[in-house]
């Protein structure tokens, strides 16, 4: 994979002088290639390539080149790579990054390069586009809080689970994704008995599992990756059998394809996020088929990282097409085209709000076991037009406060 990538980049570099006759558009792509987000990063690159293939690598006769900026999902590395791409590689704009804290750092970096553009690919922190947004920073997918929206009322009304304890990762995305769930859950009349926050990557959660109250209807789990697998493993060894409600990254393909038995505890788990693996919409089906055929060594079906990278890239290429592939000196025409863009991504209709943040669809899903024993998220419900303020006015939303350990206050939201 890596070799193929390097050789592609190398080949493009050799071809560059010849192509320089026509206008070339140069894209800088940020994706983690080290650390815990390596696999999500690789899947993101797959999504990017899939979208690029749709345009055969050119817009209106202008060739598209791209350069990879490998990160390790930390904010300082993301900014360093972004700066290298802009200053040394001379890219026209940046697609990236993947993780929440990277996104916040790049929003601040975007303000120092007003003549360039950053199109967010998968990072989900709420503050990136809500607090002090940068005018040249665009996000074409819902943020972490939006991803959690709709799940709360679903578990209260459909499942009848009203008392829950919550366990979530102790960092920005954990708070944000939890907030989306909690706002909706508490408004529907749910009660959060106790909140636990897990430090990232601590490995052994057995004591927290023992501390979970047993008089609850379900446990909300908002952890991801290796932490999620460890938690489930230890939960099963401790004999836990309460219902589970999954945060968005708890039930992603990266966890569902982990080797071992722990993930089986997830069967039947309701969750929410930007996609449902088996949604019967023809465009989604076509996208999944395209993914599976192009990348036989990828996941059984695209992860949300692939989908988000795909959507962001598609939006970028559509905006480029609108302006005929000719970028202004200060990219004002590009910014205007991006801002007014409305399109159908494979996972629903997308338009931007005044902060250049997507208003899109959220899917309620449940984990089921397929015929071949693999797990996937089956479609249960879809909530359209979820905006960043979760359907509230700005005053109401600001009154809740920015996501943190104690925000939102559940009792204040109860009807």
């Amino acid at each position: 994979m890596k070799l193929k990538l390097v050789s592609t980049v190398a080949a493009l570099a050799i071809l560059a002088p010849a192509a320089a006759m026509a206008e070339t558009i140069k894209i800088g792509l940020l994706a983690p290639q080290e650390g815990v987000f390596t696999e999500p990063g690789n899947d993101g690159i797959r999504g990017f390539q899939l979208a690029l293939n749709k345009y055969n690598g050119e817009i209106n006769g202008n060739k598209i080149e791209w350069v990879l900026g490998p990160t390790d999902a930390t904010p300082d590395r993301a900014v360093r790579e972004a700066r290298r791409l802009i200053e040394q590689e001379g890219v026209d704009f940046i697609l990236g990054p993947l993780s929440g804290s990277e996104g916040l750092a790049l929003r601040d970096y975007a303000k120092t390069i007003p003549d360039k553009t950053i199109i967010n690919t998968a990072s989900g922190a709420l503050e990136t586009t809500y607090v002090d947004p940068a005018p040249n920073f665009f996000r074409f997918h819902p943020d972490g809080a939006q991803w959690g929206y709709g799940l709360g009322s679903y578990v209260v009304n459909e499942k009848g689970w009203k008392r829950v304890a919550t366990v979530a990762a102790d960092y920005s995305f954990g708070y944000t994704n939890f907030m989306g769930f909690a706002v909706d859950f508490c408004k529907a009349g749910g009660e959060i008995v106790e909140r636990f926050w897990l430090p990232l990557g601590s490995g052994d959660f057995a004591s927290i599992i023992a501390a979970l109250p047993d008089d609850v209807d379900a446990i909300y789990l908002g952890v991801g990756g290796t932490d999620a697998v460890n938690f489930l493993n230890q939960y099963e060894q401790a004999g836990g059998d309460t219902n589970i409600i999954g945060g968005t990254i708890m039930v992603d393909q990266t966890v569902l394809t982990a080797r071992g038995r722990a993930k089986e505890a997830l069967v039947g788990t309701p969750s929410s996020g930007p996609q449902a693996d088996d949604w019967d919409n023809p465009e989604w089906q076509a996208y999944v088929k395209d993914y599976q055929e192009t990348f036989p060594d990828g996941f059984p079906s695209p992860s949300l990282f692939a989908t988000n990278y795909y959507g962001a890239t598609l939006a970028t290429l559509m905006a480029l097409e609108q302006i005929g592939g000719e970028l202004d000196e200060d990219q004002a025409n590009f910014h205007a085209a991006l801002s007014s863009l409305e399109f159908d991504a494979p996972n629903g209709h997308i338009k931007l709000d005044e902060n250049r943040q997507a208003i899109g669809s959220i899917f309620i899903t449940e984990v089921v076991e397929g015929a071949d024993g693999s797990l996937h998220n089956t479609f249960k419900a879809k909530v359209d037009n979820v905006d960043q303020k979760l359907g509230m006015s700005k005053e109401e939303f600001d009154a809740i406060g920015l996501p943190s350990r104690d925000t939102p206050d559940c009792a204040a939201l109860n009807p």
Binding site: V36, T38, D170, A206, S207, A211, T254, R259, G260, A262
Partner: protein
């Protein structure tokens, strides 16, 4: 023992009271006032036992590390990679044959062989050059990490618990008394108890081997003064290879243990290298007892911290390390 009591009467009393209090906390049902103050007994007991089991895992990794350092003065920063490699090989073997116990034997042998190769091909050539060894081991750990990432990707792998160890068991410890005098007993994962017992047995065996056998005598002599040992006609290179193989093998089987009650995935190598560094710094470089003490301390700090002070649990282990370095830089049991 009695000499210690004679020399430190005050400390003896303090330790005795602390042990008695701990035993009471573990055995007796808690009065309501105490439960109201610090939470239910079940939570405390679970955190306590989990801390000790986590300590057992850290001990498995750190004992090899500390032995290698004690004898060869070689800080092997590739130790975490041996742990991770052991986990991956153990997963592959257990998956292919279904034998969890068999994986321990196979992994111990394979990783020990890798240890022999490392010692014979690499470290033998740079004996006594601390900086060069350190740099080379960092280099090896990076290369190994990338090779493993290439082979196994960044998925999480979980080694399946064998059926006879899966699920919880009930321990004869009362955690609460329900309404009509019905006793509630502590349930605890069976696999963790097995790992704890095995680690203690291994620790005792290592102590016996070091203190009661001829090879153990050679190793202890080597730790104290390896030039003298070499001068008295012992072929010290063989002792080095033996110790390195044993330490590497231990790291390998620790990988299986870690993969069973946590999971194996890229990045764990650095986590466990850091953990074993902290453990041996706290316990004292080169001391097996020190490694055991440090491992249990760190394990307890992590687990009790995660329940009673979640905000500070990450800092807690480093706080312990800083305190030890400030007041007893050679480690609690170091010399």
């Amino acid at each position: 023992m009695s000499r210690f009591i004679q020399r430190n009467p005050v400390w003896s009393v303090i330790i005795a009271v602390a042990v008695a209090a701990l035993v009471w906390l573990v055995v007796a049902p808690w009065p309501e006032g105490l439960e109201a103050a610090i939470g239910r007994k079940r939570i405390f007991l679970n955190a306590l036992f989990n801390g000790i089991t986590l300590g057992a895992l850290y001990f498995l990794v750190a004992s090899g590390f500390t032995l290698i350092f004690g004898l060869m003065k070689n800080v092997n920063l590739a130790h975490g990679s041996l742990y991770l490699l052991g986990g991956y090989i153990g997963y592959e073997f257990a998956e292919a044959t279904g034998s969890w116990l068999g994986a321990f034997v196979v992994v111990f042998i394979i990783v020990a062989l890798i240890g022999i190769v490392l010692q014979y091909v690499v470290f033998r050539r740079m004996e006594g050059e601390d900086l060069r060894q350190t740099l080379v081991t960092i280099g090896i750990s990076i290369v190994l990490a990338d090779l493993m990432l290439w082979r196994w990707g960044s998925h999480s792998y979980q080694i399946l618990t064998p059926d006879f160890l899966s699920g919880p068991v009930t321990l004869p410890l009362i955690t609460a008394i329900r309404g009509e005098g019905e006793l509630v007993y502590l349930t605890f994962p069976a696999v963790r108890i097995a790992i704890l017992v095995a680690s203690i047995a291994l620790g005792v065996l290592m102590w016996l081997a070091l203190n009661r056998t001829r090879v153990g005598m050679l190793i202890r002599a080597g730790v104290d003064d390896r030039e003298m040992l070499a001068a008295s006609g012992v072929r010290i290179q063989y002792v080095f290879i033996l110790v390195f193989a044993f330490g590497a093998g231990l790291a390998g089987i620790a990988g299986i243990v870690g993969g069973t009650f946590q999971s194996v995935s890229a990045g764990e190598d650095m986590r466990f290298l850091l953990a074993s560094l902290v453990v041996v710094i706290v316990g004292g470089m080169g001391s097996i007892f020190g490694a055991a003490l440090g491992a249990v301390l760190i394990g307890l700090a992590e687990q009790l911290g995660s329940v009673y002070a979640p905000t500070y649990s990450v800092v807690l282990t480093f706080l312990i390390m800083a305190l030890v370095l400030a007041f007893r830089p050679q480690g609690l049991l170091g010399r």
